[in-house]
């Protein structure tokens, strides 16, 4: 019998009873996302380092990497391990990464040609302990393969991020954390661009409602009166673009991700 002086919160604190309405932030340690609102929603107050994170979105350019940029910058600053990008849809651009605080030299970009090779790379990288983050854009992946990657990521202490189309939201997945990202139309009055996030799956809590997050950029800045500055010349034949020696000839990807 407890003395009547002890209040309910004190008791709860003493017994360590878990309540579904609380995120158990204490014993999981994540990589801080750089966004306080998002940290509050995530178990471990950040991106999980043991287990995969799935980011579901349809279109590139909605801010999916800007969302990750503070965490990646933190990792490239703090650790000497690789940030491995596996078959990104386009070429990661070094000056932009440097602007975001991500050291381009810590990036390692791999373009496996076959599906089996790319799964192999993901598993090796996640388990190797030599990557601080593994970002992968798998062309096709099933639940069984994700489970395997999930197990591999438990040993490697890497931030495992899978970019998948929104249609994958209907499939179940063993990933630790699943976020669905929604594009947000530009609002002219704000400087920062916005992204919509719905947490589909997280440890220790239910799925969340969609919430808006202001990204840490100034991209929404409209140059005043730019419309008058556009030169509207009649169309002439464009010069041959090949006059620039492209440092790398990458396979052309479709702009729209399937």
């Amino acid at each position: 019998m407890s003395p009547p002086s002890e209040s309910l919160p004190a008791l709860l604190k003493k017994t360590g009873l878990w309540r579904a309405s609380h995120l158990d932030c204490e014993f999981r340690q994540g990589i801080p996302t750089g966004y306080t609102e998002l940290d509050q929603q995530l178990p471990g107050a950040g991106w999980p380092t043991a287990g995969l994170t799935e980011l579901l979105h349809d279109q590139p350019g909605i801010g999916e990497l800007r969302l990750l940029a503070p965490a990646l910058a933190y990792l490239s600053e703090q650790q000497s391990r690789w940030l491995l990008w596996i078959s990104p849809p386009y070429l990661p651009y070094a000056p932009a990464l440097a602007q975001l605080g991500i050291n381009p030299a810590s990036l390692l970009i791999v373009r496996p040609t076959t599906v089996s090779d790319s799964l192999w790379v993901m598993e090796q990288a996640l388990a190797s302990e030599s990557c601080s983050a593994v970002l992968a854009w798998p062309k096709q992946i099933n639940e069984k393969q994700i489970r395997r990657l999930q197990l591999a990521s438990k040993t490697g202490q890497a931030l495992g991020l899978l970019f998948r189309p929104s249609s994958a939201a209907r499939q179940s997945s063993p990933a630790e954390l699943r976020l669905r990202l929604f594009p947000q139309a530009v609002t002219p009055l704000k400087e920062r661009s916005t992204i919509g996030i719905q947490i589909l799956k997280r440890r220790g809590s239910w799925r969340s409602d969609t919430f808006m997050l202001d990204l840490d950029d100034q991209l929404n800045q409209v140059t005043p009166d730019f419309a008058e500055m556009i030169v509207r010349n009649p169309q002439r034949s464009a010069p041959d673009l090949a006059y620039i020696d492209h440092p790398v000839a990458l396979p052309r990807h479709d702009h729209q991700r399937q």
């Binding site: 279109q59 350019g61 909605i62 801010g63 990497l65 800007r66 000497s80 391990r81 990104p88 849809p89 386009y90 070429l91 990661p92 651009y93 070094a94 000056p95 932009a96 990464l97 440097a98 602007q99 975001l100 381009p104 030299a105 810590s106 990036l107 390692l108 970009i109 496996p112 040609t113 990288a125 190797s128 302990e129 030599s130 594009p183 139309a185 530009v186 950029d217 991209l219 800045q221 140059t223 730019f226 419309a227 500055m229 556009i230 509207r232 010349n233 009649p234 169309q235 002439r236 464009a238 010069p239 673009l241 006059y243 620039i244 440092p247 790398v248 000839a249 990458l250 052309r252 702009h255």
Partner: protein, 538 residues
């Protein structure tokens, strides 16, 4: 003769009695060696393996006899060049014990280990290590020790022919307590000449001298070396000539016997031949391990690291297939190399048969042994801010070993061009503001200071830029685009191409997709009006 006691020469002779045979058979796992193998010279069998002996084949038989005893006999022609090559490789291997290694053709190595005993903590650990490693290399060797090279050679040959010795064995004379006294004549032997005593019991037939001398010695009734050395030097000189006396004086150490030592090779090559063609690449694992172990000893003895090695799979009827493995930085990590080799082999589909496997390394780097702090700096110690910053910067620039391991793994499986890293370049043109860094250069740190652009740059760049549709001179991409920030004018000048006689100017904008809100980096040529998509603000 004043010799410093610690530097007193002690010669280890490694005699490889089965060398003609083992240059062919050492690639086989001893447990799988179930076929009789013989080596022939002038149609006579000169060497044979245990299986062949068990079937009844004897040295000196001809091939007809061998085939009548067993139909499975595999025969090789004696290959003197190959034997010499193997002996040279073994000499390089023996370099780990002493810098004084001499090759005594056709099948012996002489090593002066007198100065190495302290390093190896005595004679016993050294010889144990040598026999163990020789066994791993697949060679049968007789180890014998003596104070002169010739005496060591003599006892090695004698030991091999003792009926009780059919395996690797050692014969060490007791270390003499006092330094050797110089005797003026052979007969004037002092009792403490240990060399003389240790070889006294050996029959004279093992002396490596002219056969005519040996037969006349036997006719004289001189059976052992001891008998011979008891004779007066003058009469031996008269009867057998000055060369024989000279040989005997060198044998007992009364006359110096300088040897021609090998020089260190900056090149590693070793190969293994198979008796039957290997059709399955996984069966190559055993010989691969053996060759890598040789490389291991080679690198350890010289304190070297490597960043590249090449395998050669060859077959007499097919073109040779080479496999090269590149490492991101020089290292000496044999299990890692084995793993990479296995990975590389898994990819090989076009090699059907292999009869020789070779490993060669050409480039070596001195091992940089980084020593840790003697007194690790604790968190509580007062470290100035600059010091700690320098430490963090140093830590960041040094990648952990396993980071290179992953890189090597990926490059080995996917090819050297599949992996790359990025670096910044000082150039205002967006296409030239970055650079691809490949595996070989990934650990080079650049000291260049880079001026980053002030304006927005997209995380993803399209290479090359893509032409966009236009709608009323405005860019259009599955929907209307709203131009946000810009323009940022970037000139691509005449210096890009001499024939370009006008300035190419681009105006860059950040554009938002009106429906989805996705942000793009677009430009148009000021004088042409066409719009291009160049990047995505992912």
């Amino acid at each position: 003769m004043t010799i410093n006691d610690s530097n007193k020469p002690l010669w280890l002779c490694l005699y490889f009695p089965l060398l003609p045979l083992q240059v062919f058979t050492r690639g086989i796992n001893p447990l799988e060696a179930d076929k009789p193998v013989v080596v022939i010279e002038r149609r006579r069998i000169i060497a044979l393996n245990q299986v062949a002996i068990d079937t009844g084949i004897r040295q000196g038989n001809n091939m007809d006899t061998a085939y009548s005893l067993s139909h499975e006999v595999i025969s090789f022609d004696k290959d003197g060049d190959k034997e010499h090559g193997a002996l040279a490789t073994l000499a390089q291997w023996a370099y780990q014990f002493s810098p004084a290694v001499a090759i005594r053709a056709p099948d012996c190595l002489l090593i002066d280990i007198g100065a190495s005993l302290k390093l190896f903590k005595g004679l016993e650990p050294l010889t144990t290590q040598a026999s163990k490693e020789l066994q791993a290399l697949g060679y049968t060797a007789v180890l014998s020790l003596n104070q002169t090279p010739l005496a060591a050679l003599l006892s090695a040959h004698y030991m091999w022919h003792q009926p009780s010795h059919q395996r690797t064995r050692r014969h060490a004379p007791q270390q003499p307590e006092e330094s050797q006294e110089t005797a003026n004549t052979l007969s004037n032997n002092t009792p403490d000449n240990e060399t003389t005593r240790s070889i006294a019991m050996i029959p004279v037939t093992y002396l490596q001298v002219d056969k005519a001398i040996l037969s006349s010695l036997q006719q004289m009734g001189i059976v052992t070396v001891g008998d011979l050395l008891d004779l007066p030097a003058g009469s031996i000189n008269r009867r057998f000539g000055v060369y024989f006396t000279d040989y005997l004086r060198r044998l007992v150490g009364e006359q110096p016997d300088p040897q021609k030592y090998i020089t260190q090779q900056p090149h590693f090559f070793s190969d293994i031949s198979f008796m039957s063609d290997v059709t399955n690449t996984s069966a190559l694992l055993f010989p691969i391990k053996r060759l890598l172990n040789e490389l291991d000893a080679f690198l350890t003895a010289r304190q070297l690291h490597i960043n590249q090695l090449s395998w050669r799979l060859s077959h007499r009827n097919q073109p040779t297939r080479g496999l090269s493995i590149y490492l991101a930085s020089p290292e000496h990590n044999i299990p890692g190399l084995l793993r990479l080799t296995q990975l590389k082999l898994e990819q090989v589909k076009d090699v059907k048969e292999v009869d020789t496997l070779a490993l060669s390394v050409n480039d070596f780097f001195p091992a940089n042994t980084t020593s840790g702090d003697l007194f690790p700096v604790s968190n509580y110690a007062s470290v100035t801010k600059e010091q700690s910053e320098a430490k963090t910067a140093q830590k960041r620039s040094q990648r952990p070993d396993n980071a290179n391991g992953l890189l090597n793994l990926l490059c080995t499986r996917l090819g050297p061009d599949a992996c790359f890293s990025l670096a910044l370049q000082n150039d205002h043109r967006p296409e030239k503001a970055w650079q691809r860094v490949t595996q070989q250069h990934i650990n080079e740190t650049s000291t260049q200071t880079i001026q980053l652009p002030d304006s927005h740059r997209p995380i993803f760049l399209l290479t090359p830029p893509r032409v966009m549709q236009t709608d009323d001179h405005q860019p259009y991409l599955d929907g209307k685009l709203t131009l946000l920030a810009g323009p940022e004018r970037i000139d691509f000048g005449w210096w890009d191409r001499p024939t370009l006689n006008e300035t190419i100017t681009r105006d860059y904008y950040v554009a938002a997709h009106s429906k989805s809100g996705a942000l793009y980096w677009v430009f148009h040529y000021v004088h042409y009006g066409k719009w291009y998509l160049h990047g995505i603000f992912s």
